[in-house]
Amino acid sequence: MMCTLPKLLESLIDPVPLIPSKAMLATSPSIYLARYPLLPMTRDYVGKRGLTINDLSSEQYAPVLRRAINRVELAIRYGFVNDRSRETEVEILSFPLAVFLVACISDPPISKRYAMAESERCSELLLDEPNQVVERLAEDSFGLKLKALRHVLGTHIYDFCLDFSDYIRLASHFSSPSWRLVNKNLCLGQVYLLKTEAVGILKLHAEENILRAINESGDVSSPQFLKQHLAGIRSIIAVREKEEERVTTRFSLEALPPCIRSIYNRLVEGESLPHFARFTLTSFFLNVGLTRREVLSLFSRLPDFDEHLSQYQIEHIAGERGGVKKYTSPSCRTLQTHGLCLRTQQCLSMRSPIKMYYRQVRLTERGEA
């Protein structure tokens, strides 16, 4: 099946009518198209170009092809796609092509990884946007009625609120206790959210939409000019799989990033840890290959250890309860928000403790070799 770009992109986007805000248009609108390819206005933009996949084989579109391959490779290698929204044209056109490439690879874990990486990119950018822009993007991209505000409660400043029934529906994908309605500030039907929480919800939406678009593409046959590039991507996948197998079979305490090490040390000393610290540690260890039993034995050091409860929570985070997803470990940005980040020279420009950990493991192995 040959898919044209606009058609592919169309399947990515909820059919929400777009009314671009004046503020967005007053600045550079195309930069938003490049940053957030799920926007309906991006679909319109690509649609007007009337391009097909085969058109992209021409030299004129070589940068688009290069960037699309780059997007997929970054996602596979690092779980993150960088932002190059200043090159708007390339950025806008390369996204649906990258989705097409992932559909051609037809490997569910890779599709998931790509969707997560792209949504991670969107969420990092959203965190830097003014709240009003986030509000607008939420509505335009997902029809979500997030309201931007400033609400101070205790030591927290809430940036958004959302109708509770919408909130329950969206937060049902998260199993951490902090997402439960009972643990939210709920007043007159509105759930108050920190910016990181609101963006977390949008990120999940983006991930689901991208994944749906990849899956709905069906069996796509790759055109001749992409065959060589797809082979290249497949070889990266093979290398990564071998690497992961090697890394996860050897858990290294020495490779722990400073933030995780600090929480781990507090745990070893028997200090009662706040919830978010427990969540961070659990999701981190589960994601670097420790078994549930191994994580449980770590938590048995806590003074308020409750085996049944801990087991339940670990299973939740591992995605084995509640029919929800396995949790990734919080990013550096989220840890900063919760005061758990201990950024050091060693961290360089890392965006998540997991990536930092794998980097350290690799460096150590190279050193040993």
Binding site: L153, G154, T155, F164, S165, I168, R169, S172, P177, S178, R180, L181, V182, N183, K184, N185, L186, C187, L188, G189, Q190, P274, H275, G339
Partner: protein
Amino acid sequence: MSFIAEADLQFARGAFRSYYERPRERVEIPRKIESREFGYFVFGENIMVRHLSLRDANSLGSLFTDRVPRHVYYSSAFFHSPSAPMERKGWIGAELVFDIDADHLPVRCKAEHDFWLCKNCGEHGPKPTPKGCPKCQGRVEEIEWLCELCLREARNELLKLLDFLELSLGIGSKDITLNFSGHRGYHVHVDNDHLNSMDQYARKEIVDYVTGNGLDVSYHGLYLSRGSSSLIGPDYSEPSWRGRIARGVYDLLGQLSDPSYKGYFSENLTPKTYRRFLKRQEVLVKLWSSRPVWGAASAIKADDWIKLAQLAVRRQAANIDSVVTTDVHRLIRVINTLHGKTGLLSLKMGYDEVENFDPFRDPVVFPDQPPVKMKVLYCPEFRVKEKSYGPYHNQVVEVPLSTAVFMMCKGVGTLSSG
């Protein structure tokens, strides 16, 4: 629960029939009646007739006049085909329903007033219920009694629930219908097109919110500050659970030395924690009188405060029957119909009527006249309107009609020919 004699059944049925003579004026007609499933029990049969579809208020009226039902229920859900088997009904949505039942409340009096009764000799006793009467081997039956204390507790839970619905969930009174169940509790119906589409998961989240299930006080502003290790906590005026926790702790501090709460605190706090608070109660109540002073009194540890806050959560929570709220296919009693276990009306009430609602007076619909002579096997003391009756044990008494129907429906008294 059964009537003692066929004559009692026919008598009660006659009373119900006279009440239902003009059903459309008396019974609350459910919204979107054509999309609801109906079910009912008739007198003398223990099998519910259900999967009924009624197209309008007239059809519902005919059900009352033709069948004279003992209990009538309707679905909180809206269906495409209400009379089809469950899997083919086609669920559209469902009202958000809450049931507050004294049976689910931890009231101490329950053990005292629920009893078993021998339908032959009138022998009775507290639970557990024996298989047969120890005196005459006659048939024994468990009787659930109504008591003022239970129903007062149920009303308090209702008030707490309404507070959650209005202030936290932002549900306006125009979307809420309240009624007495006609027996031992209260029902709350929220009918709002936006909320009606919520699935079971969403309803469970709401249940957990109002019951405080899974609540972690650290997410509601109560935690140890990093660095100084001082306890930070919420203020009385804060919204949501935060304010409830602060106000709840203040209430508990005031009750620490009250002898009637001693057992409660002993059950729910460790002896050490309880002693630490009790010793400093006077100072703490004074300190907390204008605003919460979390972490006051250095001898009281942060963990003690957190335990007290957790106890406050349980006290501030609304005690509802979670199964009813999460069941999106539930049948529930039609509002303003008679309850077959009491002859009391499942009376609809306004928001402003809750505080002064009297379940032993307001839902009594049968007249006092004519008086009825009855033989009562056994019943504890009870009240109908302003008058108290009982306790009776194998006595013949003459009581107003409303009281007689109540005792017959409860299965404790039978018509006396003498």
